[in-house]
Amino acid sequence: MKRVWIPVTFAAFALSACVTINIYFPAAAAEKAADKIIDEVWQTQQADKPAEPAVKEKK
């Protein structure tokens, strides 16, 4: 009977870890997103590479 509780406890921990990830602010992702938007607003990088993906298709 006691054996059942060990995996259940671990499962609860693991699940709570998943939930935690979504509650805490993803700072690194936010920085990445901010940089992307700033690039577009200020047109700082000519990183508008997706502008011509068709050219690379063949050859």
């Binding site: 671990f10 870890a17 979504n22 938007i37 577009e40």
Partner: protein, 137 residues
């Protein structure tokens, strides 16, 4: 015992997979794109005022009229309107990103992340707020 280890390993893998999915912030929504376009168009007019020092980047992710003297009197009204419109867009942008990710409460953190990035990426010669005082990059 063996099954328990297997079970734990699979849980671990699942957690790692879920983490990988959670690390991106959604910024590609119609609302965010519309605000971005509007800010991009306005930047053409604002850039000169950043360069002249009339307008600076504030520590709270906004912009402000820093040196009204750098703007000819006739243009001052127009610059004020530009600053107000830009700040409206910026407020809307931060709120929109927070909402798009299902976490309206992240708005303040998104704002402060943007504030740091705007300032860090400002071009040389632009004025930015640093601990309450203005500093030229």
């Amino acid at each position: 015992m063996n099954t328990m280890i297997k079970f734990l390993m699979s849980l671990l893998a699942l957690t790692a997979a879920l983490n990988a999915f959670a690390v991106d912030l959604e910024v590609n929504t119609p609302g965010v794109n519309a605000i971005k376009q509007s800010m991009q168009a306005r930047h053409a007019q604002l850039a000169a005022h950043y360069a002249s020092g009339a307008v600076g980047l504030t520590a709270d992710g906004m912009i402000a009229l820093r040196d009204a003297g750098a703007v000819p009197l006739a243009q001052r009204q127009a610059v004020n309107a530009l600053v107000a419109a830009e700040n409206n867009d910026r407020n809307a942008l931060y709120a929109e990103i927070a909402n798009a990710n299902g976490h309206p409460e992240w708005q303040a953190e998104i704002r402060s992340t943007f504030a740091q990035r705007w300032i860090q990426r400002a071009q040389p010669g632009w004025w930015v707020q640093d601990g309450g005082s203005w500093k030229q990059k």
